[in-house]
């Protein structure tokens, strides 16, 4: 009974991810991506990681997907892009990658299910306080490196975006 709390969001996540990779309209795929991310957030909550669940909702489903939506709106994708997608995505193209990926999946399921000792998650909540203490003591260097990465990304995104705006103004 308890395991249903895990498997219901897991099935929702898998099904909506399947829709993400098969949609032809980019904004529909983004909405399915939001559903997938929210159900993964539910899984985090069930596993006892409420802080990670909140971050998943706020940053993934909030910030990153909204960024995608802005770009999709800027590019102004309409009916022609849906038709172009169906030209690019013939049913036959799915066969080869699907076979390869299912071979990988079978191997991974075999390896994972053959793990020697059956282990179970603790079932206890690891709250934000514990995470924060651990984050700013042994992992402080990782936090600073992440800060550098975000700074580099900020400068890179500004550079790319500025050239886009300037060149569009010229004609």
């Amino acid at each position: 009974m308890d395991l249903a709390l895990f498997w219901i969001p897991a099935v929702v996540a898998l099904v909506s991810t399947g829709f993400v990779i098969t949609r032809k309209n980019a904004s529909h795929a983004l909405i399915y991506l939001v559903v997938s991310l929210l159900s993964v957030a539910v899984i985090f909550f069930v596993l006892g990681a409420p802080f990670a669940a909140a971050l998943e909702v706020v940053i993934y489903a909030g910030a990153i997907v909204v960024l995608f939506l802005f770009v999709v709106m800027m590019l102004n994708l309409g009916k022609t892009s849906v038709m172009r997608e169906s030209r690019w995505m013939r049913p036959g193209m799915w066969i080869g990658p699907a076979v390869l990926v299912s071979i990988l999946l079978i191997t991974m399921v075999y390896v994972i299910s053959g793990m020697p000792d059956a282990s179970v998650t603790r079932g206890e909540v690891v709250g934000p306080k514990t995470v924060g203490i651990q984050l700013f003591q042994p992992y402080l260097l990782a936090v600073e490196l992440a800060g550098f990465l975000l700074l580099a990304a900020l400068i890179g995104a500004y550079h790319l975006g500025r050239r886009y705006l300037e060149q569009r103004r010229e004609p």
């Binding site: 997938s36 985090f44 995608f68 892009s81 690019w88 990926v101 079932g123 050239r163």
Partner: protein, 103 residues
């Protein structure tokens, strides 16, 4: 509240999500869908980390998830700038259009 879940099952769900993302990367040609599939793959990696953290009752899994989150945000910011450049320069979203190194 938190419940006890066998770690194998969580890892199988994470593997399934990761491979769906990989399938998307292999099949799609539209660069926006490629980026969405990459997001799905990174999210699956985060799920595996959270599962490992929950197995030991330790916060390290959540910390690695936060680092993955920062990585995903940085990647998306730069990649969407590139998407705008590609769509302006080649007038298409096909990744194959940008396959030639041409100054």
């Amino acid at each position: 509240m938190a419940i006890e879940v066998p770690v194998e099952q969580v890892l199988m769900v994470a593997a399934g999500l990761f491979l769906l993302g990989l399938l998307g990367v292999l099949v799609r040609r539209n660069i926006i869908f490629l980026l969405m599939s990459l997001e799905v793959m990174m999210n699956a990696a985060g799920l595996a980390f959270i599962a490992a953290g929950a197995k030991w009752g330790a916060p390290d899994g959540q910390i690695m998830f936060m680092l993955i989150l920062a990585l995903a945000a940085a990647e998306v910011a730069v990649a969407l700038g590139l998407v705008l450049q590609i769509s302006r320069r080649f007038d298409t979203l096909d990744v194959d259009a940008a396959s030639e190194l041409n100054g």
